[in-house]
Symmetry: C2
């Protein structure tokens, strides 16, 4: 199994473990995506779901940004909503964003959802993990991922994206027991799913709580963090996960710094709206931090990108930092600006040997 | 002029000035809005812009929530984008959100924008302020408002609402001098406009920085706070504004608490994603705070609303607090839940006479 292989030399994994590194590793959320001409070329002949469901296509697009820019980690090409159909939810991915035809609205809807075996119901994911690992040939480690329970609940309840999260909040604040029943089902599947990815070869896993930031701090603790912690604890209790870093990314984390580090994750993802120095001061030295250049900074000219990369690196310090954007790269981004960012991270973070 | 009248007895104004109050005053962003059947009845016979442009209609809807719920302040019915057409931008308000037909894209576009006389170009606003003051008959004070420069720039540049603010960030990060030229024009008009509202009778004014929260802390300071501070300083330097509280509301303020209080405002608006106790600890005792119940809490049953109101009041403390939602009330809100919120604020914040 991959996790027993000598992976200690990977820069990304060492930074996740807060070990000394010769330079700061760098990857980018949504690095396999529409800003890349090579990705768009694949999408011209296959749908988004085709890519998720076909290991050879997932492998092709996962490797594109590694080949193009030399990122220090690859991330499985998939979607956080991929776990919903096996539970009984019908998800479609039109251009304007995901739509769920039978959203969860009643307690009966919640009770009807199944917690499936991820290997049996999503074999294409584990096959993709194996194929990507083989294609990478040890060049860089592979990150697996899943949606965090709260974020998955927002999609399941709203039936897609949302602006005000009215239905989610009506459930959370009006019927907390049912909300926790739903969150618990999501957590059980997500934990099993991440473990299955690790068993298939994922060398780190990230839990995406993309919409945690719509909650007050007390509600974040109760509905988002509590269940992320449950997932992380279950993953970490599994023998296959020994030495596999877990990353928890709550988008919009600034209000939650007092409790964020109690997630149990090895690495905390940080969006761009808060300074890494502020986060480090609040969460202490027990975790690594990942982030946090404003994706919008990539619209700036290369010299301004370099200046902003330097600021992020200076705030983060040399230990326990994985450079990333503070959110996914946007489709309108110029790939040459991504190259300028990667080059700036490499040059500005280079340290003389200890 | 209104600001010379003895307004010291208004609960809302006393709380803004951090004076002792017998209970915490309460109003609600978007309190004159679609959640109210009486408002929808007016909108059935007039467009949104008709309401903004017709003082008698603006007066009618401004007073509806005062009559219905007994809020402690009225707020002018208008829109933050109302200042854009006099500058030369063509704004429409379809149901799905505002659209600007000729957005600002080049330096020439910026240079072409005029900074008009607000009284000459928006006489309907000052007429509405006067008519609302007369209709209120001193029952509660009237709050005027404007969009903050940064937020107005996002609309002017994007041509409407946005998800990623790509064009705005390309301007800010790629051509800072032009960005500041545009922000400066917005600030000049907004300051004059708020002064004109005060001269017409507004007893407090709020500056809405609805989209400030999309910026990193350094960019917030440079592009949002800097220009909000400029507007507030200009307003406060005007004799008519003596004793008129200025409220600055940066939506998503949690990452910016280190500098938020330097805006110069008397009152800082606080969204629901951060605890008022955290904000108070960060900004000190020199300002009042306004907020911050999650608008989504109004989807909960009345007893849960009451519990959450109690938590907000406990965090805020008795001095220098104006109760409000942490963002505008949503159209789907049950008016009876608004009534439950107002009643809870009145009962739970009542203090024995000093």
């Amino acid at each position: 199994m991959s996790q027993h292989a000598p992976a200690v030399d990977h820069l990304f994994l060492r930074a996740c473990r807060r070990e000394p590194v010769e330079r700061t590793p760098c990857w980018m959320m949504r690095q396999a995506g529409r800003y890349l001409p090579a990705y768009r070329a694949v999408r011209a002949r296959a749908s988004f779901l085709d890519l998720c469901h076909t290991p050879s296509l997932a492998t092709e697009v996962t490797l594109q940004p590694i080949d193009e820019f030399g990122f220090d980690a690859a991330i499985l090409f998939s979607d956080i909503l991929i776990t919903l159909p096996p539970m009984g939810l019908e998800v479609a991915f039109p251009e304007k964003g995901p739509v769920i035809a039978n959203p969860v609205r009643t307690r009966a809807d919640i009770d009807r959802l199944v917690v499936p075996d991820p290997v049996a119901t999503m074999p294409f994911v584990m096959a993709a993990v194996r194929e990507i690992r083989a294609a990478l040939g040890g060049r860089v480690p592979l990150i697996g991922f899943a949606g965090a329970p709260f974020t998955l609940v927002t999609y399941a309840v709203e039936g897609g994206g949302s602006k005000e999260y009215a239905k989610t909040k009506a459930l959370l604040f009006g019927d907390a027991p049912s909300a926790h029943a739903l969150l618990g089902k999501m957590a059980a599947l997500v934990a099993d799913y991440l473990i299955a990815q690790i068993e298939a070869g994922a060398q780190a896993v990230q839990l995406f709580d993309s919409w945690a930031g719509v909650l007050s701090p007390a509600d974040f603790d109760e509905y988002a963090l509590r269940w992320a912690r449950e997932v992380i604890a279950r993953v970490k209790a599994h023998p296959a996960a020994a030495g596999v870093p877990v990353i928890y990314f709550a988008n919009g984390c600034a209000p939650y710094l007092a409790t964020y580090a109690s997630s149990g994750a090895d690495v905390l993802g940080v969006d761009w709206r808060v300074d890494l120095a502020t986060v480090r001061a609040a969460v202490g030295d027990g975790v690594a931090l990942q982030g946090n250049l404003d994706p919008g900074a990539l619209y700036a000219p290369p010299e301004e990108i370099r200046r902003r990369v330097g600021k992020v690196l200076a705030q983060a310090g040399p230990v326990g930092h994985v450079f990333n954007l503070g959110h996914g790269v946007t489709p309108a981004t110029d790939p040459e600006h991504v190259r300028a960012m990667v080059q700036a991270v490499r040059e500005l973070s280079a340290r003389s040997p200890a």
